[in-house]
């Protein structure tokens, strides 16, 4: 078995301490779970700082930690747009303006709000697509984690995903949403403590931020961009061809910053559920705002390691002088033959410098991507090695952390995975039980019946995730396709919620047809466009290629813009043509029919609007600093 590193007893000891505490929290909280509200909404009893940290932690899954590191290596500091543009404004919006309706309506889930505000079919559409999406996305991240641990430390795929899923099942089964949230707060701190030293040690290695800038300038010019393309977030956004993201500012701000970001943070029950567990309206509204502070600092912990992975290591070395090869490369050198494509990545990394007299990647520790068919490293059109960016952050862990801290880093990785999975599972069991089972299968049962169903749904959710992980392992394309379909369903959602909350004339028929046509528009737009260099198929173009985008992200952003606009317009037109609902039925559900929240007597840090303003100013400052 070939892998990048092996663990020491101290690493396992750190991991065991973590396992003991997450399981212990499940046991400790079990006695507080007596009713459905306790299980599904944590009894609406948690203080704002707890729900706030859980809000960000549930979103901080392994895909985020690994994926943002990968994007950091691919796109540089521009990846921070996913935070400072693509998250913070939406988090402020949901806290200040939307939470009064979610929390105030006493809806127990986001689909249930749709039922109260619109009608049954709109809720059904959202509940079913959301429930399916959560279990499949936790399956996909299970798969990714199992594969990664196998590659990094040689654990068996089956054992790693079974243990991880088993632990998540245990504490969500025992403690319900409270168990998930308590662990999410713990996991949040663990992720910060596990990854923070990485950025510090990496920066120290390259000579601080100025050293990083200097080295990334070389990378940027080698890739045909201006010198600062990897270290400035806005300077090169004027045109898609000037920056490694391949997006221009308008598509970025509208597609990511508005449609996708508001669609996720303001309507996804996975995060909104955390705020709904807060102990008061004020705490619910402050939940996303408190979450926004750590969220805007996250790029330094998750993106920076990816950027560093591109340039750390010794200075460019002369051909033949191979003694300076990174430690991670030397470690598995005894391995001789690749038995499968995943191992081949390690192999290639070991062999590449030896076989090639001219070293292409003179710096950096990211191994090349392996072609699964041939087992050879992939090369792009210009013959350069294609790097396996998903390994950027994991390689940093292996490169900079000694035994002990490495255990902590891997535990943090496991924690991020578990927080994401538990978020999915708790959102799934609530939507399944309240919005599908109670609404369509067996209504009118006593509370303990639904509590039991919730526990059963937790087991079923984890089981389906596991099954999905194995499906992903054998048919990667099915999962890509599913994610694509979910993206189509999600893209128009914010239009429905925004119109529902702020325009009382919007009707159920309007909302439903708007959602449907928005989803359809997304599929059609995607089917008519293609990112540059891609082949017709899963990447688009299946209805014929009308337009080519400079990058996949640009295509994604514009697909979202088209879906949102279609849903927005269709909802308005159909609403005008259908009968409006009487005002008295919509009290507490629509802005103009709900008393404005008064919080003028409170100190500023407890007033959502004031807190939101501080958050926005801070995010603006970060954008300017890294402009």
């Amino acid at each position: 078995m070939t892998h990048f590193t092996s663990l020491h007893w101290i690493d396992y000891a750190v991991m065991l301490v973590y396992f003991a505490f997450v399981l212990g929290i499940g046991v400790a909280l079990k006695r507080y779970v007596r009713t459905g509200t306790d299980f599904f909404l944590s009894g609406r009893s948690l203080p704002a700082w707890v729900t706030g940290l859980a809000f960000i932690s549930a979103n901080l899954g392994a895909q985020e930690v690994i994926g943002m590191g990968a994007s950091g290596a691919k796109y540089g500091i521009a990846t921070s747009h996913f935070y400072w543009v693509g998250a913070i404004p939406a988090m402020v919006f949901v806290g200040v303006l939307m939470m009064p309706f979610y929390y105030g309506s006493r809806a127990r889930s986001v689909p249930e709000y749709l039922k109260l505000r619109f009608d049954e079919k709109t809720r059904g559409f959202n509940a079913i697509s959301f429930a399916t999406m959560t279990v499949f996305s936790s399956g996909i991240s299970l798969y990714a984690m199992g594969k990664l641990l196998n590659l990094l430390v040689g654990w068996s795929f089956d054992t790693s995903i079974l243990i991880a899923a088993g632990i998540v099942l245990f504490y969500t089964f025992m403690g319900g949403l409270g168990g998930a949230i308590y662990n999410e707060v713990l996991q949040f701190f663990l992720i910060v403590f596990g990854f923070a030293p990485l950025a510090f040690l990496g920066l120290r290695d390259v000579g601080g931020w100025s050293g990083l800038k200097e080295r990334l300038a070389t990378v940027a010019t080698a890739n045909g961009f201006g010198e600062g393309a990897y270290t400035h977030s806005w300077t090169y956004m004027g045109h898609a061809s000037q920056n490694p993201v391949g997006v221009e500012w308008f598509g970025l701000v509208m597609g990511l910053g508005f449609v996708l970001s508001f669609g996720y943070w303001c309507t996804d029950f996975l995060v909104v559920q955390r705020a709904m567990a807060a102990n008061s309206m004020s705490a619910a509204r402050r939940t996303p705002l408190i979450a926004a502070f750590p969220k805007m600092l996250m790029p330094f912990i998750v993106i920076l390691p990816g950027m560093l992975a591109l340039v750390v290591g010794p200075a460019p070395r002369a051909p033949g002088n191979l003694s300076a090869a990174p430690a991670a490369v030397a470690a598995p050198a005894e391995a001789t033959r690749a038995s499968n494509p995943a191992n081949a990545a390690v192999e290639a990394m070991v062999r590449t410098p030896v076989q090639q007299p001219i070293i292409e990647q003179s710096r950096g520790i990211i191994p090349p991507k392996i072609d699964p068919a041939t087992g050879e490293p992939l090369r792009d059109g210009r013959g350069r090695l294609v790097l396996d960016y998903d390994l950027a952050t994991p390689m940093m862990l292996v490169h900079f952390f000694p035994a002990g801290l490495l255990g902590l880093g891997l535990t943090a990785l496991l924690a991020s995975f578990m927080s994401g999975m538990a978020g999915n599972v708790t959102a799934f069991n609530t939507v399944w039980t309240y919005d599908i089972y109670q609404s369509y299968i067996r209504p009118g049962q006593p509370d303990h019946h639904y509590l039991q169903m919730g526990r059963f749904a937790t087991v079923a959710g984890v089981a389906i995730s596991l099954a999905a992980a194995y499906v992903a392992a054998s048919f990667n394309n099915i999962m890509d396709m599913l994610q694509l379909v979910f993206a189509f369903v999600n893209a128009p959602l914010f239009a429905t919620f925004a119109l529902g909350m702020f325009w009382k004339r919007a009707t159920g028929h309007g909302a439903f047809l708007g959602l449907l046509s928005g989803t359809l528009a997304a599929a059609v737009h995607h089917g008519l466009t293609l990112p540059a260099g891609a082949h017709v198929g899963i990447k688009g173009g299946y209805f014929g290629v009308l337009q080519t985008f400079p990058s996949e992200l640009a295509q994604t952003f514009w697909t979202a813009i088209v879906a949102f606009t279609t849903c927005f317009l269709v909802t308005i037109v159909v609403s005008m043509l259908t009968k409006p609902r009487p005002d008295e039925e919509m009290k507490g559900l629509v802005y103009s029919l709900t008393p404005i929240q008064k919080d003028s007597g409170e100190p500023w840090h407890r007033r959502p609007a004031a807190l939101g303003a501080v958050v926005l100013v801070a995010a603006l400052a970060l954008n300017l600093i890294f402009w």
């Binding site: 101290i10 000891a13 750190v14 301490v17 973590y18 505490f21 212990g24 929290i25 400790a28 909280l29 507080y32 944590s42 009894g43 009893s45 948690l46 203080p47 700082w49 707890v50 409270g178 308590y182 707060v185 713990l186 701190f189 663990l190 403590f193 030293p197 040690l201 120290r204 290695d205 430690a327 490169h399 900079f400 952390f401 000694p402 035994a403 002990g404 801290l405 902590l408």
Partner: protein, 65 residues
């Protein structure tokens, strides 16, 4: 909830921090324990221990932030 979350967080970080710090102290100067030239296990273990103790102190003080 009636369980103050700072108890489990404080306890876990104290235990983990102490574990790393002691391990870092015992292996001080051994090859391979400080790839960047800093005894990171010792220092970061102490930081985590301090964080854990601060959480425990907060939980004992009983005032939610």
């Amino acid at each position: 909830m009636r369980l103050d979350i700072r108890w489990p967080i404080g306890l876990m970080f104290s235990v983990m921090g102490a574990l790393l710090a002691v391990y870092g102290g015992v292996t001080l100067g051994k090859p391979g324990t400080a790839p960047s030239g800093i005894p990171v296990n010792l220092y970061w273990g102490l930081v985590m221990l301090a964080f854990g103790l601060a959480m425990l102190a907060g939980a004992r003080g009983k005032k939610e932030p």
